[in-house]
Symmetry: C2
Subunit: 298 residues, 2 copies
């Protein structure tokens, strides 16, 4: 864009989005609410776009989200520059690294990666549990700088790299298998109770399609945490697709049975991050990629 974006207006927009109301942003910026309102209007005139939906709390429009991300990246670059220059305040304030992580990665390998990040420079990790539907929005609005996600499509302004594949196997408790899965799997499984993660979890259906069956049985539980999901299957509530690296112990000890070891489902995981030259983010990206290479399938 050739027209310059006045940075005080950009920062004001960010404050409004972060604080939720014009009044709260005014208090945060130590100006009057009418000054906040004027700056946002001026920015909207300059960009020729409506940037905010005036709800409570306010929400950025699609165009607003672009400006908000720009504002956050600006703040980040400024902080990095201050830190490199050894300027006052920078050393007390650790760098925040906000990342959306899909639930199964968070339950298995991702925390290991974080503990491998060098303790200097000092970082704060702000993790969010990825929700496929919202991660793109979080990246677009700059609420997270990066994401571990199964979405391969790059979000606008982001780069993508493949981390590896997470292997899922159909599993059930021995008692459950005995009660519900006595016959051939492709006959018995579609009738048996199933455990799913949430409404958008289609992994169990995908597995049934591989058996050339469609639709799961009438009993379909939803257990929306990774650990709870595996625990529910172990407790015999239903069958489900479990990550091999998460349920390894249970599978080895026979508390879970792999129903079709020859038919795993591999889900590729990607690292999406802002195109931004931040040393902190680069360090984390590097450690995450290395840890993923150790634990995930290539």
């Amino acid at each position: 864009m050739v027209t310059e974006l006045p940075l005080d207006q950009v920062r004001t927009l960010l404050a409004v989005v972060d604080e939720g109301t014009f009044d709260a942003a005014a208090a945060e910026l130590h100006v009057t609410p009418s000054a906040v309102s004027q700056r946002v209007k001026a920015l909207e005139q300059r960009t020729g776009r409506v940037l905010l939906v005036r709800t409570k709390p306010v929400r950025p429009t699609e165009s607003g989200a672009v400006v908000v991300r720009f504002a956050r990246q600006l703040a980040r670059l400024e902080r990095d520059a201050r830190a490199e220059l050894g300027m006052g305040g920078a050393e007390e304030e650790p760098t925040r690294v906000s990342i959306a992580v899909n639930a199964d990665s968070l339950a298995t390998w991702f925390l290991d990666a974080l503990t491998r990040v060098p303790s200097e420079p000092r970082l704060c990790f702000e993790l969010r549990r990825e929700d496929e539907a919202h991660t793109a929005a979080l990246l677009r609005e700059g609420l997270v700088m990066a994401a571990v996600t199964s979405a391969s499509e790059p979000v606008a302004g982001c780069s993508v790299r493949l981390l590896g594949r997470m292997r899922y196997v159909a599993a059930a408790s021995p008692g459950f298998a005995e009660r519900y899965l006595a016959g051939p799997l492709r006959e018995a499984l579609p009738q048996a109770p199933v455990v799913t993660f949430d409404r958008s979890d289609t992994l169990q259906d995908a597995f049934l399609r591989r058996l050339r069956r469609s639709g799961t049985g009438a009993i379909r539980h939803q257990i929306p945490t990774s650990e709870g999901f595996v625990a529910a299957i172990e407790a015999g509530l239903g069958w489900g697709m479990v990550p091999e690296i998460q349920a390894g112990t249970q599978l080895r000890e026979g508390r879970l049975i792999s129903l079709a070891p020859e038919r795993p489902v591999d889900i590729p995981l990607y690292w999406q991050q802002w195109k931004l030259d931040s040393p902190a983010l680069a360090t984390v990206a590097e450690v995450v990629a290395r840890t993923a290479a150790d634990v995930l399938d290539a």
Copy 2:
């Protein structure tokens, strides 16, 4: 209300909210989109309220949410009656019980409760991870029938009972305690890195206030799963308030140290549920209350 609510219009509103658009609701109900639109308008005229915000997907207004909950309760009563009458279709279709559960309960005692529910009548459990900000809305819109929550204020149309208290203790890894917590706790703790669950997690701050200190240190990690939260503290990323029943093993084995065993923080947990005479819901409520009585403090 004296004015009757025409049930076909009520069901149509529910379909629009569940499907997200008038077109999708029309397909679901096998009528034309204009019929859907007319029914919703007729219902809005009759109630004298705007019931839907026409976004994509549509959202119910506050008044709309009341009608939507009514529609769901209606559907539930009808299903229960069909099941009791042994009418066709009822036995293939298990009763769905949707419950919002706070993350720490889900990570500790709640699944135990579910496995104690008798296997007849056949139930489907649809759990949602409670998000304090949204649970009231989920109950109000009828997206969940019940909730395990720390919110004691009854949601409109719901009854509340106390389940018990969950005890939290300040904990850290031995290595972390040695590095950051050598001096008196009330001096050292406010400076040390802290692990929090998410932005709305104020338990750590509440504990510092008990030590007559305000505000945590500059490094404040966010790990938004219960299991990840405890694992991050065990890995030495920071200190944090852990549920005693969740971290019992780590505390006994010395992998976690209780920093101030004499100063636990007790959080009361409540069961909120629709005021509705559903046998399935009553059964679950009973088992949940009994399990909670076994594991939580009175």
